[in-house]
Every structure is written in C-alpha cells, then in structure tokens.
Amino acid sequence: MSFLSDLRARLGSLFGRARADRELNEELRFHVAMQAEALEREGVPPEEARRRALIALGRIAQTEEETRDARGLRWLEDLIRDLRHARRQLFRTPGFTLTGILTLGLGIGATTAIFSVVDQVLLRRVPFEDPSRLVMVWETDRRSGTSHEPSAWPDFVDFRARATTLSGMATFRGGVGNLTPLEGPPVRVAAMLVSHEYFPLLGVKPLLGRVFDAEEDQPGGTQVVLLGETLWRARYAADPEVIGRTVRINENDFQVIGVLPASADFGLDQIHERADYHAQYLAPGRIEVWLPGSGSQRDSRQTHPFLQIGRLAPGADLAAAAEELGRIAGDLEAEYPNSNTARGANVESLDAVVFGPVRPVLLLLVVAVALVLVVACVNVANLLLARGATRATEIAVRSALGAGGRRLGRQFLVEALLLAGLGGVVGVGLAWGGLRALAGMLPADLPRADQIGLDLSVLGMSLVVTLVVGIVFGWVPTLQARRVDPMNAIRGEGGSKGGGRSRTRLREMLVVAELALSVALVLSAGLLVRSLWTVLRVDPGFEVERVVKAEYQLPQSRYPRDFSRWPAIDEIQSFNRQLLDEAARIPGAASVALAGAHPLDRGFTNSFVVVGREAESENWPELALRVVSPGYFETMGLTLTEGRLIDGRDRVDGVPVAMINEAARRRFFEDREPVGQQIRFWGTSREVIGVVSDERFYGVTEEAPPATYVPLVQAPMQGGVLLVRMGADPRPAGPLLRDAIRAIDPELAVYGVEPLAETLRASVAERRFTALLIGLFAAITVLLALVGIHGVISYATAQRSQEIGLRVALGATGGQVTGMVMRSGLVLAVVGTGLGLIGAMIGSALLRGLLFGVGRFDPLTYLAVPVIVLGATALATLLPALRASRAEPVEVLRGAAGP
C-alpha cells in the first residue's frame, strides 16, 4: 500500500514536475502572506511585516530545493544530469567513443548472430511429445561392418511384437513424388511413407483432418495422402476445404485426409544422413506429402528400406532397450539363418542422431564467439583505463567539490551503459545483416536452419549481454577513481605518477590476455582453413569443372517396373536411347552419358559374390552399384586400367557384363586377375570386362568405396541423371539439358540441374561455413588485439615522454628510441602468443572431427600463426615508436614541466 502510494507520488512528481514546483511555490507564497498578515495584526508596518515573514521562511528557493528532494526526484534529476554528462563526455572524445562502440558492436553482434543459430537449432523444443524417450532402432551387419541400416518389414514386425522396453514402434522411409498441379508441369516433391503408428508415436497432431488409420496402412488400402503445411499454403492457399479433394501424385489419384504442421518433418534430414543407406530422399527439404507405408517391399527379410523409430517404455532406458533388441536380433538370426545371419540391432537416442553431428560445430562457434566478446570487452576496458588516466584531473576536481564515491561510480556506470547500449544497437544491426548473409551459407544438415533469425529471445539475450558488459565497464574507472589523490591530480601529476605504474601493469596484462585468446582462435581458424583447402584440393577422381547434370525420375505408370520383362523394358530403353541422341545435339556438348546416379550421389550398394569364391565372399562389404551408359567414362574422365570399357557391344540380350573400380580390385582381387571373373548380384552372374580408376562417390573426404559399373541397357533404371561434358563453361548449358529431357517426355519433373562443381561445393558447405566463421572471428579478435597493443604502447610512450626526451637530449638516436619502444611491445606480444599457443594446443581438442588431412598439432600452422601475429604486432607498435623517436627533446621536456 505504502509502496504503491510512494510509487504514485514519485511517478506523479516525475510527470507533473513543473506543476508540483508551481504548486509548492504558491504554497510558500501563501505561507509568507499569512505570516505577514499576522505580523501586521500585531502592529508591524506592512513592508516590515513582509520582510520579517520572508526571513522567517528562509530563502524560498532553498525550501523549494529541499522539498523537491523530499519528493524523491533527486535520483531522476541526477540520472538525467548523468546522461547529459555522459553524452558530452562521449562526444568530446569521438575517436574513443567510436572505437568503443564498434568494438562492442562487433562483440555483441557476433554473439547475437551465433546465439540465434544455437537457440533455434539446439535450444528450441523438439516438436514431438516427450522427445527424449524417442529412439532410432537400426539394424547392423557384422559382415559388411555397417551399424546404421534400415530394417526389413518382417524384422520390424518381430521387433515391435517382442520388445518390452519399447512402448511402440513405427517405420518410415523416404520417397519422391511427382505432384501434378492443376496446371503446369509436374513438380517433384519430397514424400515420406510412414506406418500408421508413426504420428501417434511421435505425438504429432494434424493441423486439419486426421492421420492414417491401420486399414490405410495395409497393402491395397485406400489411396490417401496427408499434405505438408508448406505445400498446403503454397499450392492450396491454406484452404481448409482441401480435405476430401483429390491430388495426383506419380500419376495416381490420392484423397487428401489431413494437413500436417511444417514441424512434422523435424530431424528426418539428419536421420537419413546418418543411415548407411536409405530409400530415395530429397535432402534437405520439407516433406510435402505423407503417404501410408502400405504395400511394397513388405514380404522379404532381405530388403531393408524401413527406418525404425521407437519410444522407450516407462522405466526402460536406452541401455535396456539396446540389450533387449540385440537379444531379439540374435533370436531372429537363429530363426532365419538365410536372411538374418550376422544381423544385430543398434539403438540410439533420436537426440544423438539429430543433434550429434552439429553439436561439436555449434559448441566450437559458441566458444569462438565468446572469445570474440571477451576480447572486445578487454579492449574496451583497456580503452577506458587509458581514458581514465586522462580524466584523473576531472575526477579529482569533482571529488574535491564533494562528489561522493557512489555518485562518481554512478556517473561512470551511466557512461559505460550508454556506451554499451550504443554498442548493443550497432551489434544487433550487425547481427541482423550477418544473419542474412549467413542464411545462404548455413550447412544443410543443421536442424531447423530455415527458421534462424532475430527474435525476441535473441534480442533479450543481446540486451543481457549489453547490460553485463556495461556494468563491468562501469566498475573499471570506479576502481581507478578510488586511487586518485585529488591533490596530486589537480596539480597535474595524477596522470603520470601515483598508481600509474600498477595501472600500466594491469593494461599490459589485459593486452597479453587479448593476444593469447586471439592467437588461440587464429590457430583454430588456421587448422580449419588448412582442412578446407586440403578438401578442396582432393582429386575426387572424376571431371568436375566442365560437367553439368540434370536429374529426372520416370513414373511407374508409363515406365513400368515389370520384372518379368526386365531388363527389356522397352519404354525405358527407348527413352534412354532418345535422350542420349537428343543430348548429343546440345551445342558445345563434348560427351554425354546417362547414369543411375551422378558421381557425388552415394547411390546404392548390394552384397555380391565372386563365382567360385562364394564362401569367402560371405564376409565381404557391399559393393557400390553404378549403372551407366557407354559414354560415362569419357564424360567423367575416368581412366581404364585394364580390360575394356562398357560400350555398344553390350546389349540388352547380350552376355551380362560389369566393370569394377581399382578399390574393388584392391579389396577383392589383390593378387588375382579380375578380368574374366564372374561376379553375381541381383540374381545374375556378370563377367568382369575391365577395371577403371576410382571415383569418390561418398564425398571428397571419404575414400572411394569398392564399386562395380553395369551397362544401363542391361539394368534400366527408373531414376536417372543426364551428364554432359561441355567444351567450355558448363553453366549456361543447364537449361539445354532440361529442354532435352522435356523434349522426350514433357511430363517429367527435372531437378538438380547444375554443374557438378556446384554440387561439389555444396557437399563441403559445412566445412566452408565453419572455416569462414571461425576465420572471421579470428580476424576480428586479432584486429582488436592489435588495437589494444597499439593503445597500450602509445599510452606507455606518452607517459615516458619525459624520459624519452631526456634520452634524446643526452644523445640517443631515433633508431634507439624506436627499438626501445618496440621492444616493450614485443615482450607483450611474445608472452601473449606463447600463452595463445598453449591455449590452442589444449583447445584444439574441440576441433577433432572437423579437421581433414591436418593434425591438431600441425607444425606449419603452429609456426605460421605466431610469425604472422608477431609481425602484425610489430607493425602496431611501430607507429607509437616512430612518434616517440621524432619527439623534439626541448618541447617534450618543457611540456612535461607542467603548468
């Protein structure tokens, strides 16, 4: 109650200050008038009565002042005065102010930008019910050494029925659909085929309508579809009437039964990335249509397309589930030796699968950005210390005039907060711009990367950082002010004597810390950049620069997967022939080819045996299967090392043949002759006709896997890629490839039209992103550290000007003075760099897993960075050193004599 009325009175006096003053004035005048009247009644003449009344009251102004204090306005008036004073101070030294604001802006901006990434990716709620209880259940294969395989349907059914540590299980697998809109060519959309348990298990509720029921999840069930929110908004204008309508997918009609929120596809990119192999999946992207997992590929324990997710039963933990599912896999091994021999189960938390790969990168970025902020703060603290010295006189005068320690402290706090606040504004601006620049570079596997931006929680974080920074800086000059002796300071000696030495020591320590942190950061950046460089220089084994690709998918409705006729499926064979002819006519095309997958697509693998060595082949890893037309090897620039290439002699009805790569020869035919051997997979034995050089299908950082190449005519594929090697710049050719495909079949969705070089660049996007950001942060910290060391040396030189003047007067040369000043800077640089190297050796543990082709303790980096940093420091100290050496001794001595 009394608090409320107190507040009301304070606020009232804040807003009605002028009125309150007027009223007080009137009240006091009334008082004087009454007093005068009373005196008159006693017989005092009016003039005299008024004079006495005034004396009795004391000076009106003073009473007013005291009453105003009592109104509780004092603090506010002080604050306004402090703010005005702070503004004047900051304007008086624009160089200092600008440096401070920019430095803090960089620190706060970088922190804000990275925090918004971390916040969106790691800190936001996973859009599932109780996500910490969700687990991925993978199959393993001891023979091929894989640990993250999707499951076979009968295996899933057995796991689901027998596991007691899981309260539920569901399967899902990627798919690609050609959605035919009401008008225009079909578009390719990402699809997910899920079992009916999927949505209830995850706790995902539809925005509209309902999810699949068990009936629809059966082979021959009704053709129904759930639309993703993004597609629904983009193509159906968020029309709620969409329920019950029909959409055409892969040239079949599906009835829409519901719409799912955009967040429903959370984590699917990361799960697919983790899987050893998976059904075709458009990553990264939004899942736009969801279909029941009904139908195909459910009858065999040999086919493994089904990803499995489960929920831990109450009371069960990950270890218990892993133990139980491993036991069930063991039982299945005994029950189905044909299909399940050597198969086990691997249970991982969904969290580990989704966030596991990005956590180290983000952690590294957080550490780096924290270092940037610390260095920025250290730098500003340093600036304030230097300025504090020049303000010693002001502080002294004010404390001599009676300003209390608290009053002075508050003044500095207000000044620091104002500075930090301005820095914060700049920082948020930088973060906003920075995030827009980052948007295109974010690694694709970052969960929820598309939602990163500045929002309230991020801005709140920046505000907190700004306040903390401001408060910390408010202290620095306060601590200093305590040491100022008003007498000395006013006499003009405050800056150079008494406390000067310890202040310099403190500033030197700060600079050393700054340098150490930035050296550690530069070293990390150096290691990352070296890794990136190494990655970019890895020879992927195939021609990248001049090849352009376009991908397509043939719908089963018009290009049937009729295995009774296979491989003589005329529809596909004729399409392939025509497309090759059409593509060869593209102007500038040097060589054209069709393939099942382009060289940066992992494609698929299969187990196989070498005829005559069946027993031995049992334990071999799977072989990457590449289906190619004869022009492939020329187009991709591969070298034949033995035998012959696939060519026109290999026909649909001819002898089945295959080629292998060098990796397969090394792995399976060490000291044997591969050409002429028979290898068998897909139920057909094929004669090995040649050996070709390796291609790195699994990305440039992974060794080429053992692979086999099969002629396209002998293994027609539903999905494919057109590859064209151009004589010159491949970029303009993209649309021509699209036209060529559309010329054969205008109904096809064509996608992934880009030069291979671009695909390659995208595959190292994350590495580039990390290296670039850490490099940027490192550059900022080094710059700040250099500013810091420059400031310290300049200041120290200014303090020693008297001594330097004397030396010059006594005959020291300019060179000697320069050397002396620079030596003092280099001592700091060497100590800072040394500490930074030690810090980097410890801190580089964070980089493990992010490096490629470079060790944590790469000697070249550890040598180059100190040399560069020391060189830069030398330059930063050169300026004050030269200034000192040019000093005119007479002026310096006279100047130092003081007023």
Partner: protein, 92 residues
Amino acid sequence: MHGWGITQRIEQLSSQALQVNQGTLYPALERMKRKGWIRSEWRITENNRRARYYELTPAGRRQLVVERAAWERSSGAVNGILRWAPEAGGAR
C-alpha cells in the same frame, strides 16, 4: 489545515515553546505525503485565498498511534531518568 495553520497551531499548543522552521515543515509534509500518511488538496480560505490543506489518511492515523506510543515510551523513559536524578531537586 494548511501549512501556515500547522505552524500556528504548534506554536499555540506548545505555548510558543516550539517554533517550527518552515524550511523543515514543507519537506516533512512532502515526505509524509509520499508515505501516504497525509493527503492534500487546494481549497479557498475564509479570506478567499487559495491554500493547500492537509489531512490525515487512515494510514496516517494508524501511523500516529504507532508514533505516539513510541514517543510516550521514550519520553516516559527520559522522564523516569530525570525524575530519578538527585540534582533535579524533586522527589527522590
């Protein structure tokens, strides 16, 4: 009652023993107002002058009880001491 009236009343009641310094009075009134013990309003005096009148609020009355008790306790204590002092010349 207005400010000037308060000074007059105090002087009257204390038989001129207590002279209120106006420089103390108005800040004190302001502080009491801020604490919610009194409230004020502008009224016209019998002589047609505008003056600010003060009166106790319920919270102020309660505070008065508290303050009076405190005062009586301490003045009683002081009186006790003074009465006991031999050189006061009163009853032992």
